[in-house]
């Protein structure tokens, strides 16, 4: 019944929440309203903020922070140590690996092996192998679970991101952040439940499309809201020039009064919703500036992340991610664009790692200190990995896109720290031990949030649509606490 306009249940919910007094809603009512507000056609029945029947079981994680290293960081220079590849450096890549495989920019070129460009060492009590270029991540080795056997379907950036976010490369499907918010609702009263931030600094050539946080056929209130670090943090959140806070408040009051007067004669539930949304909008005009105002953060915290000010850097965004986690934002998605290293790999790796390594580790440590890591799931990784083969764009060697095997890590929120899972072959090409498809990653993330991926669907075009789609997918039980 996706396309039915005003669902009876919604209608009843809303009328009850609002009662007859439309003005001056309490925060509980507002919160319910934000989560139950009707959008065309959804057949969502909600209990409190959750979709009815959710969560399916006790969740381990209340929220997700997804650290997306856009461009596709090399697994061979970070988490996947391949001594055989080192020995094969400069030699021809055996055909048995590459015959009939999709290839991006190396199409038609001679394929030669490129050995790892950094030394690897064991770290933490767990002794996880991590490349020397990530000294800070090395310090949280015992908190993270490294998955070395990821694989995906798409070899170009844009479709690969689409797979990472929606489970398929076919456009028009909801992103995982939207799915999670659709299922579980937002715990924040005055912030969106799904926030996306893209950092600046270093080189950032990777385009990122807003479809990556789109809600597609889910109600649009579940789409990701982009928080900007330059200009207005959220579009149109600032009062117009020449309008004081007091005046804006008076204006919104007048609008709401007029709407309420009108509603006496037309009794339109949509008006009641609009009244509440204007109140919420006004609240957001303060809550969002408060969120990005770091003046209440002590110096040692700023130093831990390496935050130098409101500069839109990855470090700044990591600190904001923690602040949002504290405020009940359900899904926080950070992008750092700069990991597409077709050439000059070591030079660019240095830039990216300098910007990202420290703040990432700081975020994990900070959450841990606040006892929030246990219910915050952190996921780190790119849309794909990089070829074991050499690519010669630039002065120094580089690597092409690679989808048959790459690494990511997860931490907190019910994931076993200090472990690793899966493996690629001796050259780091194919995931051979416990291969993990993006769908499996999604199934696992949902599982940690208390959602059974096969039972979490919505009707669209007559089909039961799921984040994990129609293909088999499995929860990585082995990595769970």
């Amino acid at each position: 019944m996706w396309n039915s306009n005003l669902n009876l249940q919604n209608l009843i919910n809303r009328r009850t929440f609002l009662g007859n007094t439309s003005l001056g809603l309490g925060s509980a009512a507002l919160l319910s309203l934000l989560n139950s507000e009707n959008s065309l056609g959804s057949s969502e029945e909600r209990e409190g903020i959750h979709l009815k029947g959710l969560p399916h079981f006790e969740p381990k994680a209340k929220r997700v922070i997804f650290l997306c290293m856009a461009g596709g960081p090399s697994h061979l220079e970070t988490f996947d140590y391949k001594p055989t590849l080192e020995k094969m450096d400069g030699k021809l890549m055996p055909d048995s690996f590459t015959n009939g495989q999709p290839i991006a920019q190396l199409q038609g070129k001679e394929l030669k092996c490129l050995g790892p460009q950094y030394k690897f060492n064991k770290h933490g009590e767990s002794g996880q192998m991590i490349a020397d270029i990530l000294p800070h991540t090395a310090k949280i080795a015992d908190d993270i679970c490294i998955i070395r056997s990821l694989n995906t379907d798409q070899i170009n950036h844009d479709p690969a991101h689409t797979v990472m976010n929606t489970g398929t490369s076919i456009s028009g499907r909801p992103s995982m952040g939207s799915w999670v918010n659709y299922g579980l609702g937002s715990e924040s009263q005055d912030l969106p439940g799904f926030v996306v931030m893209t950092s600046v600094g270093g080189r950032n050539p990777q385009p990122i499309a807003s479809r990556q946080w789109g809600s597609a056929f889910l109600p649009s209130r579940f789409q990701g809201v982009e928080l900007h670090t330059t200009g207005e943090p959220v579009h149109y959140v600032k009062n117009p020039n020449g309008i004081s806070k007091h005046q804006q408040s008076e204006l919104i009051n007048s609008v709401n009064q007029l709407n309420a007067i009108r509603n006496q004669s037309v009794q339109n539930p949509e008006i009641e919703t609009r009244i509440a949304q204007y109140e919420l909008a006004f609240k957001m005009q303060s809550s969002i500036p408060d969120l990005v105002d770091l003046s209440d953060e002590p110096k040692h915290v700023l130093d831990l992340y390496g935050v130098k000010g409101n500069d839109g850097s990855y470090a700044f965004n990591c600190l904001l991610a923690r602040r949002m986690a504290e405020r009940g934002v359900r899904f926080i998605h950070l992008y750092h664009r700069g990991w597409d290293h077709h050439g000059d790999l070591t030079r660019h790796m240095k830039t990216c790692c300098n910007l990202c390594d420290g703040p990432t580790a700081a975020l994990v440590q900070d959450l841990k200190q606040r006892d929030m890591l246990k219910d915050t799931l952190i996921v780190w990784g790119g849309e794909f990995g990089r070829t074991p083969m050499f690519q010669g764009k630039g002065k120094l060697p580089g690597r092409d896109h690679h989808i048959r095997g790459f690494s990511m890590w997860m931490a907190g929120g019910g994931v076993k720290g200090g472990t690793s899972y899966g493996a690629t072959d001796e050259l780091g090409y194919n995931a051979v031990e416990n291969p993990v498809h993006i769908r499996d990653l999604h199934a696992t993330m949902l599982h940690l949030m208390g959602i059974h991926h096969e039972r979490f669907s919505t009707k669209y075009q007559g089909l039961d649509m799921r984040l994990t789609g129609v293909e088999e997918s499995r929860v990585l039980k082995e990595i769970l606490i």
């Binding site: 929440f17 070899i155 456009s171 385009p207 649009s220 020449g242 339109n268 075009q461």
Partner: protein, 803 residues
């Protein structure tokens, strides 16, 4: 506490509802189940089988369990190893009934682990169906519509045209009556938004209210259907369907050149091009003998999909993506079918096979896509083949000018010309410069060019690297009427002809269903994208068939059908909902009143601009660039993007002309649910969010409109505060304010004056927003205060609602 309150409320609603329903359920079986009714396969049984059984016992041969299928009658009734699944008349002998009513976990269907479960009501329906003979019907949308019997009704006086018979018949069988006609001002506003996407002007309102002739309403309808803005309004919807956008969509999301296609769509709707021709030209305009420039532009339809020239794209992979994209779009737009599912496997609910999918794709195997990959990172990028044309709305004028210039040049060049050599040269230079200037107004447009068709194979699981599949030739789905071309390879034109043949079961129904949606906010079948097994049973199937048959008979005449719909009394009903409506028929499946809904993003913009007087009514041509938050395109690259908002009157053009950046759609459009147009959108969501509130409150486009509206009211709205508020209110909302409303705005105005008198610098800041100049020596305190009143009005629910 809240939850408990909710429950008891729900119960009381349901109880009341239930009692009423029992009384009239028999008379109105489509709405609620009644134990006594005659079961109809399509209405009652198919939805259950489709949703709960077809996944394993349906069209998809790969997923079929126990080699048993329920979607084909002969298969469902054949002898199985142990007895029969269906024994007509005897549920007790039918294995199907035994299995669905079983309490044994190993026996029960659907199996426990499928996540599907039949309700007791559904089991009862299936039982009754078997008792009554287990009669099958072909899916309603797979058989051509036939002229239905016009229903008899008691209240003949209410019937304006035959549409009303179909609606009234069901209402007369329910506890409801039809709603009274909406008041004239509301009707005018409704018609104006529905037919042109713009509000009525004050003059139009006054004229209509004064006109007491019996044809007053029809006159308005005819005026609006003849308005050039009618085409723009319909285009907003059509462009959603065909996923029109100004950028390539993938990776760098560069601009591509396609705006003449938008002109074509608008012009075609305005000229009332028959829908069959409209279809042929878009799918195959390039294949027409002596194709005109416009027909070539129309074929741009095949090119508006998302494309990529990202470094490292594998051409074969993207050709497969484009193929699939086209099949998805064509099957959704013309057939209301979800053929996209059959890219990887036979459809699970409808009889589309993978072979059908790739046979459909091979109609487009001749579209020259190869040059797409050679596009560069320029703005716009090149997506050859392209042609160079004038905007269709300027073509006549500019061609005339060129003609004139050319004959002048010829005259001068004639030997009998009396000019000196120097004079001649000077004059020629000047004329040639003018010619060049006009020629520069030509715009590039992607078109379809037919090349030798490439081989299209069935790709197992959609895998483009698998080259073992059978090569297929162009053909429509096997179960529909075949495209017949003898031994010749069928073309896109053959496909178009078959889609608009009088026997095609889907095309007319799909389009009529969507037209109904444009005038009611809901389709007759409420799933606008899928009219297959998993779609929704139409609330008024016979009406849909009636409209479809008429549409075809009338030569696919869109305006005629639009007029028929808006002339009906059904359309003219009030949109007010009573408690009874909300309790028993909250979805208004009876259509016992009109629906009220928020207008679309484009209309919200157009409305504000039109009310303020800022709207630029220029038609067609390149896209417009309204104000947009700085840095919004920061994440775009190849090349880096800087957005330049228009510094001239293009700033005030209609929403349909806004530059459509697929990856970063204008935030105002996004906030009000406009789609990114990556895929076909048949029905936009209507959300109501704080972000939308912030947009309407603070987006400079609206603030500027409010400023201009305030400047106008100071000039034309009389002297008193009250007369000014009335002047504004009536122009924005098409009605007079009441005393309470006047009071709220008077208070707001007075407080604003106080505030700005004490801080005049703020009045200056506010009135500087937007490039529209404020005359020197204006009283900025007054202007800022009236602007504040305008802000209040422009943010009202009523302002953005079509009642």
């Amino acid at each position: 506490m809240k939850a408990r309150m909710m429950k008891s409320l729900k119960n009381s609603f349901l109880c009341k509802g239930l009692m009423l329903c029992l009384a009239w359920g028999m008379l109105f079986p489509g709405l609620l189940f009644s134990a006594e009714k005659k079961i109809r396969f399509n209405r009652d049984v198919r939805p259950i089988l489709s949703d709960k059984c077809f996944y394993c016992h349906g069209p998809d041969s790969n997923k079929r369990e126990a080699d048993f299928r329920l979607d084909v009658e002969a298969e469902a009734k054949k002898k199985l190893s142990e007895g029969f699944a269906l024994v007509p008349g005897h549920p007790e002998k039918s294995q199907l009934f035994e299995r669905i009513s079983s309490h044994d976990e190993d026996e029960i269907m659907p199996p426990a682990d499928s996540g599907k479960k039949l309700s007791s009501k559904e089991i009862e329906t299936l039982k009754k169906w078997i008792e009554q003979g287990a009669v099958y019907e072909p899916h309603w949308c797979f058989i051509p519509p036939s002229e239905p019997k016009i229903p008899q009704v008691k209240n003949q006086g209410w019937v304006k045209n035959k549409i009303d018979n179909f609606i009234l018949e069901k209402i007369e069988g329910s506890p409801f009556t039809v709603s009274p006609r909406a008041d004239k001002a509301t009707l005018l506003r409704r018609l104006s938004f529905d037919l042109t996407g713009l509000p009525p002007t004050e003059k139009e309102r006054e004229e209509f209210l004064k006109d007491n002739s019996p044809h007053a309403y029809e006159k308005v309808v005819d005026r609006l259907l003849a308005s050039p803005h009618y085409g723009e309004r319909l285009a907003i919807y059509w462009l959603d369907l065909v996923r029109y956008a100004d950028t390539v969509g993938y990776h760098g999301d560069q601009d591509h050149s396609i705006t003449p296609y938008r002109d074509y769509v608008i012009k075609s709707f305005n000229e009332n091009m028959p829908f069959d021709q409209f279809t042929r030209e878009q799918l195959a305009g390039d294949l027409f003998k002596n194709a005109t420039e416009e027909q070539k532009i129309a074929s741009g339809y095949n090119r508006v999909l998302q494309t990529s020239h990202e470094g490292g794209v594998q051409e074969k992979e993207y050709l497969a993506k484009y193929s699939a994209d086209r099949v998805r779009n064509i099957s959704t737009v013309w057939m209301g079918a979800t053929m996209g599912c059959a890219e990887c496997h036979d459809h699970k609910y409808d009889p589309y096979t993978s072979k059908d999918f790739y046979s459909m794709a091979s109609f487009f195997a001749d579209v020259d896509d190869n040059r797409t990959f050679k596009g560069g990172n320029s703005l716009p990028t090149k997506r050859e083949p392209e042609i160079l044309v004038f905007s269709l709305f300027e073509k006549k004028e500019l061609t005339n000018q060129l003609q004139k210039l050319k004959s002048e040049i010829q005259k001068i060049e004639k030997p009998e010309s009396k000019l000196t050599k120097e004079e001649k040269e000077k004059k020629l230079n000047q004329l040639n410069a003018e010619v060049e200037k006009i020629k520069k107004k030509k715009i590039r447009c992607m078109v379809t060019e037919s090349i030798k068709p490439r081989d299209i194979r069935i790709l197992a699981r959609g895998d483009w690297m698998d080259e073992t599949g059978k090569i297929v030739v162009p053909a429509g789905p096997d179960f529909l009427k075949r495209v017949s071309t003898g031994s010749a390879r069928a073309t896109r034109l053959d496909l178009a002809n078959s889609l608009v043949s009088t026997e095609h079961p889907q095309t007319a129904r799909v389009f009529m269903n969507r037209m109904w949606y444009l005038f009611f906010g809901e389709g007759i079948s409420r799933n606008l994208l899928d009219m297959g097994s998993q779609g929704e049973w139409p609330t008024h199937l016979e009406l849909l068939d009636f409209l479809s048959v008429r549409f075809i008979e009338n030569g696919w005449n869109i305006k005629k059908m639009a007029k028929m719909i808006v002339m009906s009394n059904t359309y003219q009903q009030s949109s007010l909902q009573t408690d009874q409506h909300q309790e028993i028929d909250p979805l208004n499946k009876l259509i016992s009143h009109q629906n009220r809904f928020r207008i679309s993003a484009e209309m919200i913009r157009d409305n504000a601009l039109a009310v303020s007087g800022l709207l630029n009514r220029k038609m067609g041509g390149p896209s417009a660039h309204p104000y947009q938050p700085a840095g919004y395109y920061a994440h775009l690259n190849f090349p880096k993007r800087v957005y330049h908002s228009d510094k001239n009157s293009n700033q005030y053009r209609r929403g349909v002309y806004i530059h459509w950046q697929r990856q970063f759609l204008h935030p105002m459009l996004r906030a009000f649910d406009a789609p990114s147009r990556e895929e076909c959108t048949g029905q936009r969501a209507i959300s109501n969010t704080p972000l939308a509130a912030l947009t309407l409150l603070n987006d400079p486009t609206f603030l500027e409109a409010e400023k201009v509206f305030a400047m106008k009211v100071i000039k034309e709205g009389g002297e008193s505060v009250e007369s000014r508020i009335r002047w504004m209110w009536i122009r924005a909302l098409s009605r007079q304010p009441n005393a309470q409303e006047l009071k709220v705005l008077t208070q707001l105005y007075q407080n604003s004056v106080k505030e700005y008198l004490s801080k005049p610098e703020n009045a200056e800041k506010l009135t500087k927003i937007g490039m529209f100049p404020v005359p020197e020596k204006s009283d900025l305190v007054q202007l800022a205060s009236w602007m504040t009143v305008a802000r209040a009005i422009f943010n009202l629910n009523e302002m953005v609602t079509r009642n």
